[in-house]
């Protein structure tokens, strides 16, 4: 069958079970958009290409599928870079299609030409420039395969206009591409070592990471922890991979981790790290990190091993398959924890938990941001998909919204991209129209991609924005308070739009709470309507995120904030 490039693109997308794409048209993709016009593939028109990538990213994080976007050449393509780098740092599978000028013009500085494969080489898992029609179908197939196999990541496919307008014979059965899937290799000797280390341990601990969510290994990890009573802490990217309501859950570790999680890491004698990469925000000073522990590190990417933390036993493999092997080995060899020593360890952790619980003080007439998040959790019974922006809003969400299910906390962890939350929420809501999807935002971040309110309004994508409005770039202000003697250099954001009026101007609902007594009512009202809603919570201006490990300190050295916070 003879098909045009544009038709082949849509055919392959159908074969890859793509049900939605996020995009923005322009000169070099006019032919593709013309084909879309005749197709029933769902397309969401964003208002900025960065929004398209974050929306596809949110969709991918919530579903575990590959997110797809389509933009034009030149500025359309360069606008995707922040989104691609965001997905790359968090290993999120995306395929980003960019238009390109006709092949004859490439290199001529043509109108809206840019070398997008060159620009994105360091921030994609891989990228392609399709040079002729014959390689179009196989390249797209390969792009999807690369995006989702192994350690996932974003793949960019650059599509010159003339290639897409050319015809060729297309038969899906004849499309061949390279296979990168590495077969899982069981490592029984390593399992035996883990067994011995676990047997010798008196204070074992598990760190779960984003790789547990990406590898769909939550069930195995939870089983391992519960069966052998091993407490679990986790990275920001792991939230939801182990039930937040479980007594064995210690909360997040690291810079804004709980006191008891960081103390447990610092005192444990055996550490099983699964799908983590030991980011500097997690470890604090490397020398003192889990200094008393034998460390076992399971990760699919060999380049993560011994990159930051030198471990005693690396196991390279898929998190799910490896945990399954481990569970089987422990069972077959009748591992049983010493109940007395395990109780002593869990009691020690509970003492830390009682001494410095994760808390805040809601008093007076000013809304505390943590209270808003807790109330949101209560009203949704935790059954919501939460995106965040970056900064204090993100850390408070990580601390105070208890995530019980994987793929329910959607946040830019590695790159820390402000402006991520709103477009990501749009992508999530497109995947789960019947779920509560809430972007917990700050007043700085929300203004970075505020234009996407128009997208939400146009398609009635009923995302809810919980705006923790403190009139500051809160996290930067917090650092200025603590480390720069309160010289608030350019972090005051008091000059901001009236967010309620702004919401209304975009055609969505705007609500506001200025007192603690109004919080619950506003949230209830916001959650009850099937429309996009922006809720502006005027929160305590100078609230800080605690505990906090100062940069360059050991994670056992935490700043706990004011006395009243500790009680």
């Amino acid at each position: 069958m003879k098909l045009k490039g544009t038709q082949i693109l849509l055919e392959v997308l159908k074969e890859e079970n793509v049900d939605i794409i996020f995009g923005y048209p322009g000169g070099t993709v006019l032919d593709i958009y013309d084909q879309l016009y005749k197709s029933d593939l769902k397309h969401i028109l964003v208002r900025h290409e960065q929004g398209a990538v974050h929306a596809a990213d949110g969709y991918a994080r919530a579903t575990g599928k590959v997110g797809v976007c389509l933009v034009t050449s030149g500025p359309g393509a360069t606008n995707t870079v922040t989104g691609i780098a965001t997905a790359n740092m968090d290993s999120i599978p995306l395929v980003v299609f960019t238009g390109q000028v006709p092949t004859g013009l490439i290199g001529n500085d043509a109108f809206q030409e840019c070398d997008i494969t060159g620009i994105t080489r360091p921030c994609t898992k891989h990228n392609f420039l399709v040079r002729n029609i014959e390689e179009l179908a196989s390249t797209i197939k390969e792009a999807f395969h690369i995006a989702r196999s192994g350690r996932p990541g974003p793949v960019l496919v650059d599509l010159p206009k003339d290639v897409m307008a050319t015809q060729t014979d297309y038969d899906p059965a004849n499309v061949k591409f390279r296979n990168y899937e590495v077969a899982h290799k069981p490592a029984p000797k390593k399992m035996a070592k883990v067994f011995d280390m676990l047997q010798a341990a008196k204070k074992p601990l598990i760190i779960t990471g984003g790789g547990v969510i990406l590898g769909k290994a939550s069930e195995e990890l939870t089983h391992l922890s519960r069966k052998y009573q091993i407490p679990v802490t986790g990275t920001l990217m792991s939230l939801g991979s182990f039930p937040g309501s479980d007594a064995l859950w210690l909360g997040m570790l690291g810079m804004h981790g709980t006191y008891y999680a960081n103390m447990a890491v610092s005192h444990c004698d055996f550490l099983l790290a699964v799908g983590v990469r030991f980011d500097d925000r997690v470890t604090g000073t490397i020398e003192t990190f889990a200094a008393n522990a034998k460390i076992v590190h399971i990760d699919i990417d060999p380049s993560s091993i011994n990159k930051n933390v030198t471990v005693d036993l690396p196991i390279i493999g898929d998190t799910k398959a490896t945990l399954k092997d481990l569970l089987r080995f422990l069972e077959e060899h009748h591992y049983a924890q010493d109940a007395a020593s395990r109780k002593t360890w869990l009691d020690e952790i509970d003492e830390w938990r009682e001494r410095v619980p994760l808390t805040y003080c809601q008093n007076g007439e000013v809304i505390k941001p943590q209270y808003v998040i807790e109330t949101l959790h209560k009203l949704t019974c935790g059954d919501a998909l939460i995106t965040t922006e970056v900064g204090q809003n993100q850390m408070w969400t990580a601390q105070f919204f208890q995530f019980d299910r994987p793929n329910s906390f959607i946040s830019s962890g590695g790159l820390g991209t402000m402006g991520f939350g709103l477009p990501a929420a749009i992508g999530v809501k497109c995947a789960f129209p019947d779920k509560h999807v809430v972007d917990i935002a700050g007043d700085g971040s929300i203004q970075m991609n505020i234009q996407e309110l128009a997208t939400a309004a146009q398609y009635n994508i009923a995302v809810k924005i919980v705006l923790l409005n403190n009139g500051y770039l809160g996290m930067v202000r917090q650092w200025q308070e603590l480390f720069y003697e309160k010289r608030y250099s350019h972090t005051d954001m008091t000059y901001a739009p009236d967010f309620v009026k702004l919401a209304e101007a975009f055609g969505i609902i705007g609500l506001r709470a200025t007192k603690p007594s109004e919080v619950e009512a506003v949230l209830k009202q916001g959650l009850s309507v099937n429309k996009p809603v922006l809720m502006d919570f005027r929160v305590s201006r100078e609230e800080c995120v605690y505990p906090m490990v100062r940069p360059g300190e050991s994670i056992s050295q935490m700043t706990l904030g004011s006395r009243e916070m500790i009680n």
Binding site: G118, R121, K125, H126, L129, R131, I146, S303, I305, N306
Partner: protein, 161 residues
Amino acid sequence: MEKKAHVISILVHNKPDVLARIAGTLGGKGYNIDSLCVNTTTQNDISKIVMTTAGSQATITRIENQLQRLVDVISVDDLTNVESIYREMVLVRLNLTAQNSEPVKKAIDMNKWKVIVSGDKYVIVEITGDKTQIDFSLARLESLGITDITRTGLIALKLED
């Protein structure tokens, strides 16, 4: 940790950009490439890259792992820890003058350098050898009046698989 030169042999799919990806991966992470040699293998769609870089064993392992992540990379092999042979090649043009033509001819004969082109005004010789041999030869040629040289990157081959 001790920093030393490592010769890394990389098999890659012969795709556009593959060299840029490899150079970018190293450059982007702050590693320097000291010498580089690239060509196709007996299969046209597979190329071999031989690269010299310096670092501690931990750094080299990190480099190998980073390279392994690239989609177009088939295999990465550090030849430094196994028995291998090393060669470089240099082409040298010497302008002949009344004063130097005799000593040049003598040196060529003595050192068994291969003459590629020989004219009245110049001579081009080809020298192959390991790094020490080439450095030694170039030092001798220096005094005879080198006009221009082109030196390849290091190539290497393991003695056994």
